[in-house]
Amino acid sequence: MLEVSLVHYIILSALLFCIGLCCVMVSRNLLRIFMGIELMLNAVNINLAAFAYFCDGMVLGGQVFILFVMAISVCEMAIGLVIVVALSRHSENIDVNSQDVLEDKQ
Amino acid sequence: MKILSLSALILLPLISSGMLFFPFFNTIRKIRCFAQISASIHFLYMLLFLAMYNPFSPESALSEVYKWIEPLGISFSLSLDGISLICAVLTSFVFLMAIVASKHHIKEHQRFYYSMVFLLQAAVLGVFFAHDMFLFFMFWELELIPMYFLISIWGSGKKEASAMKFLLYTFGGSIFMLMSILGLYYCHYVQTGMLTMDMDYIGLYNDYPEIVKYLAFVGFFVAFGVKLPVVPLHSWLPSAHVDAPAPVSMMLAGVLLKLGGYGLIRVNLFFFPDIFVKFAFAVFVLGIINIVYASCVAFVQSDIKRQVAYSSISHMGIFLVGLGALNAVGMCGAVFQMVSHGLISSGLFMVIGMIYLRTHTRDISLLGGLGKVLPGIYYLTLVVVFASIGIPLLSGFPGEMMSFFGAFISENELVRHFVFAGMAGVILTPVYMLNMVRGVFGGVLFEKFKKIERMHVHEAVVMISIVFLIVLTGVYPGSIMKIFAPMIENFFSI
């Protein structure tokens, strides 16, 4: 009973993913939303690693993919933060609820 | 290359609509002359077809098949039969008249106007000659575009709204048609494994599942019902006519209503004869409603153009009665009614155009006593109005007579009993027609209409040729009958 099998890892990544999602949806601060996105990406990585380890045998395709995911997340984070900075310079606050430029006024 | 080629017939208007944009035609006069010349050439060429056509020889179908979209089995195939030839001749005649008549009505963008007219003519001829369902549908959609521009640019009153209404109505209808075509196409492919859009294969192959046949029939009927205004779907016609300029409404009434009728015959009747038998009474009742409803509504209208629009709805009601009779006499009556209605309604709209040009109003209460000032127009209108009422020796009578005789002979019990309701149209039509004539030409003359100018030469030419054709088909209907009658007879003999 006590050995750690694939399903535990998947449960872990699912939980982590949902927490990240919840962070994105709930928080008002744009930066916190970015943190949530990072959590979700890491959850995906855990999944990849787990499947690579359990099912993939010696090919380890999953681990290669983890690197790609990391790279992309870093790029996304960089651009995101720059936008946040520009946004904050533009409208003095980064509260998500107040950014309603797109709202249809009538 | 044999001289009679259908594709040449369709290409001619396209070429002339293209050529209008050459810089050579810089003055309005040149544009108009070119348009009139090419329209008359087209009409003469069409008469050549008429002369050389003998219904009994197989090669008279002049069918031409060119590969188009090979994998889907779609081919650019054209063919000819009695009914499509008659409709095509009527089309080119009405277009020639409309082009000649549009001298004073169209004041700006002549070049664009005439090219749109020729595009419309090509599309309509395409529909009549199409032998491939896809081609049929394509030309059906193509003729909407020029008509939309014609109504919305040169019209009057709230022209954009009615042009849009016309477009949406016909589009709505043609969606059903598309569904039916694709349904047939798919079923045919599933059952025979051969992917083709040709009318002979799709249409005449008749062991589709029962439900598919019903749905396809209803789909086609709705699409053609919108075009041939069947009462519940007709409300686009009056607004389109009221806001279109006179030559455009001549074309609209003279030709576009025939598309609906031609479609009903060619697709609904020839493809699904067994289902049409079941729906015969429904078609008949719709015809009756058309006649009675449109006549009553026409009586109350205050705008004469709207009255004539409703009158063309009631005329096409007689077409439906003839079609519902489902026998050779009824069918001949229906096709004859289609041709005569084409002539009559283009004549009527021509007259209304002339009156509107001179008095700038179409309201019956404001008009009156024009008979003394415009005697020429008055007498020609009388002839056309009497033709539309159905006076013998004029073109309205044979169509009506044969349709009612056909309805009486039809083996469908119910049709025989209700034919008298259709005949009520005989009383109702003169009621509003003569009321209109009395309102416009009779009675005391308003002083502001004292000094309107007499009939111009080109208007006289148009009206007299229309009246001549009306009298010719009325006195000797055999001239037209011998073209489409044999085809109808051998269809009903099987």
Binding site: V24 | Y293, C296, A328, V329, I391, I427, L434, F441, G442
Partner: protein
């Protein structure tokens, strides 16, 4: 001589050619009121008259000929409609009568319409009418009869509405056409029903479809195949048609209004020829009517009722031409009544005598109106005999003949009288006598009011009457006097009922007692009229009686029709359009909802996308069998 019978179809053709020349000429070359059109129409009807008379003589000599030639007009597989002509005694005499009267009317109108601006159009219409009437009379089958039945209705519309700039004239023309159209509806329905019920009879009989020649065979076939009931229906439909055309009870309202037309037109159409077409149809369809007694009864009832009603209306009429119009209605009632009783040749005989006499009266009235410059109110006229004796005496001759005192009217009324008494129905004979008195009464009342009595100061100057009008009036006097006498069976000339009879020759046996009775009845009418005219000019007793029926038509019928069409218009404008409008509204509403949904801030977008994701999963999972 048989050449004329063979080429009798030229008679209508002449007038058609005349009409075409005038109408095309009118369009381009001919000046509006040139004389050419008059001479053209005159020559065409004169040639027609010559042909007609010669053909009539041929028929008169040979024993009951039946000459027919047709060619197929429309032929669709089983059904073929034929055109052509058919000559027998009835049609030959009718052609002669029509051409003769139209010739005289055309001569009359040369003078009457001299200063009318649209002179040539008038003669064109007269030629067209002559063409349509002759072909109607010569038509070999029911289908062609229907065609020219409508053409005649069309010509009456054109001629009544000749002065279309007068509102009342165009309204009267419109009314006349609609009422005639109702009759045409009956004719069409009856013909179609008759044609189709006896369809396979016509197929195996070699004759053309619905031809008159063996109509009774077709009727017998119809009777035994479909039973008497269908015969009655078809008969009633044809009765409706003839009622409309001959202005009988339900559909007579258009005739008095038709007096808006110029007087020669009323003389030609609304007295002598067109209104007689209804009786002609009855004569042609006699085999159909003869079969069922119910139909004959209906014809009698309608005839008697119209005669009585219109007689009373004529009594209280102010307008000279309207009196004559009502008297036409009542005389036509006579003919219906006679044919209804089975007195086929008596009815036809009365038709001829009435045509001549009534045409005479109308032309004379035309002269009076022309002389007084268009005034038609008889109470404003008086003592005109001294001013225009010729017209006065010819009017008197016409009145005497029509009321059955001496001239040709006496003979035809005598035959009908005899038929009435033979039928034995007491009530009918009493009514018939009453009508006899009534006709004499109102005719002589008009005569005394207009021509006798002292000079009426409001008459004013009287224009001289041109010779052409006088000439035609006199010839008519001569004919209406001699016609009855000639065909009364004296001097070896065949009497009328030998000439035109249906199945048996009724033979004209003048019983002395009946002659005395009818003459003294008419005399009492005359004396009554004389006393009335002496007593006082104004009789307001039932002045507005005739307005009741007009009011009924004017308000009830047209009002109902307007309401129905307003209802339809309402349906069209709001319900049919409403449905479309609602669809538009729905689409609008839906798009508004969607737009508000997708335009908040970023947070909403995330939540929305997640929500749709869950929804998508649920839906896909739900229908997963479809995709597997």
């Amino acid at each position: 001589m048989s050449f004329f019978v063979d080429y009798i179809w030229l008679v209508p053709l002449f007038s058609l050619i005349a009409f075409l020349i005038i109408s095309t000429g009118n369009m381009f070359v001919l000046h509006r009121n040139s004389r050419i059109s008059a001479y053209l129409t005159l020559s065409s009807s004169f040639l027609g008259l010559v042909f007609g008379v010669l053909a009539f003589i041929y028929c008169y000599i040979s024993e009951n000929i039946w000459f027919e030639r047709t060619f197929s007009w429309i032929s669709v597989d089983a059904l073929s409609f034929d055109f052509g002509f058919m000559v027998d005694n009835l049609s030959a005499t009718m052609v002669v009568m029509v051409c003769f009267i139209s010739l005289l009317v055309q001569i009359f109108s040369m003078g009457y319409m001299k200063e009318d601006p649209e002179y040539s159009k008038f003669f064109g219409y007269l030629a067209l009418f002559n063409f349509a009437m002759c072909f109607l009379v010569l038509s070999p089958n029911l289908f062609q009869a229907y065609i020219f039945w409508e053409m005649v209705g069309l010509c009456s519309y054109l001629l009544i509405g000749f002065w279309y700039w007068k509102n009342s004239a165009s309204k009267a023309a419109y009314k006349a056409f609609i009422v005639n159209r109702v009759g045409d509806f009956g004719f069409l329905l009856g013909m179609v029903a008759f044609g189709i019920f006896t369809f396979n009879y016509w197929i195996n009989s070699d004759l053309s479809f619905l031809s008159f020649s063996d109509l009774n065979m077709a009727v017998f076939y119809l009777k035994d195949v479909f039973g008497g009931y269908s015969v009655v229906i078809i008969g009633l439909l044809f009765l409706l048609a003839s009622c409309a055309k001959s202005a009988q009870f339900p559909l007579y309202v258009w005739l008095p209004d038709a007096m808006e037309a110029p007087t020669p037109v009323s003389a030609l159409i609304h007295a002598a020829t067109m209104v007689v077409a209804g009786v002609f149809l009855l004569a042609r369809m006699y085999p159909l009517f003869e079969v069922s007694s119910l139909l004959m009864g209906a014809v009698v009832v309608i005839g008697i009722f119209t005669a009585l009603l219109c007689g009373v209306f004529a009594l209280f009429e102010r307008d000279l031409k309207r009196v004559l119009a009502y008297s036409t209605c009542s005389q036509l009632g006579y003919m219906f009544f006679a044919i209804g009783l089975g007195a086929y040749s008596a009815g036809i005989f009365h038709m001829f005598t009435h045509s001549f006499a009534k045409a005479l009266l109308f032309l004379a009235a035309g002269c009076v109106v022309f002389a007084l410059g268009g005034r038609q109110d008889i109470f404003e006229m008086g003592g005109l005999r001294k001013r225009m004796p010729v017209v006065a005496y010819s009017f008197l001759a016409g009145v005497i003949s029509l009321s059955g005192l001496f001239f040709s009217g006496f003979y035809s009324k005598e035959c009908i009288f005899q038929a009435v008494f033979e039928s034995g129905n007491i009530w009918l004979s009493v009514l018939f006598c009453a009508i006899g008195i009534l006709t004499a009464f109102y005719l002589f009342r008009v005569y005394f009011l207009v021509f006798e009595g002292e000079e009426n100061r409001s008459v004013g100057e009287v224009r001289s009457i041109p010779f052409s009008m006088i000439f035609s009036v006199c010839t008519l006097v001569v004919v209406s006097v001699l016609f009855g006498f000639l065909l009364g069976g004296h001097f070896g000339i065949k009497s009328f009922d030998e000439l035109i009879y249906y199945s048996f020759k009724e033979g004209y046996r003048p019983s002395f007692l009946l002659v005395i009775l009818s003459v003294c009845l008419s005399l009492s009418g005359v004396i009554g009229a004389y006393l009335l005219s002496k007593a006082g000019k104004r009789v307001y007793l039932f002045e507005n009686l005739r307005f009741v029926v007009d009011w009924f038509y004017e308000n009830v019928v047209s009002r109902v029709f307007c309401i129905v069409s307003k209802l339809f218009d309402f349906v069209d404008r709001y319900i049919v359009y409403g449905v479309v409008y609602i669809c538009g509204l729905l689409v609008n509403l839906f798009s508004l909802l969607l737009r508000s949904l997708s335009s908040k801030n970023i947070g909403v977008y995330v939540v929305l996308s997640m929500g749709w994701l869950i929804l998508l999963f649920i839906v896909l999972y739900g229908f997963k069998e479809l995709f597997v």
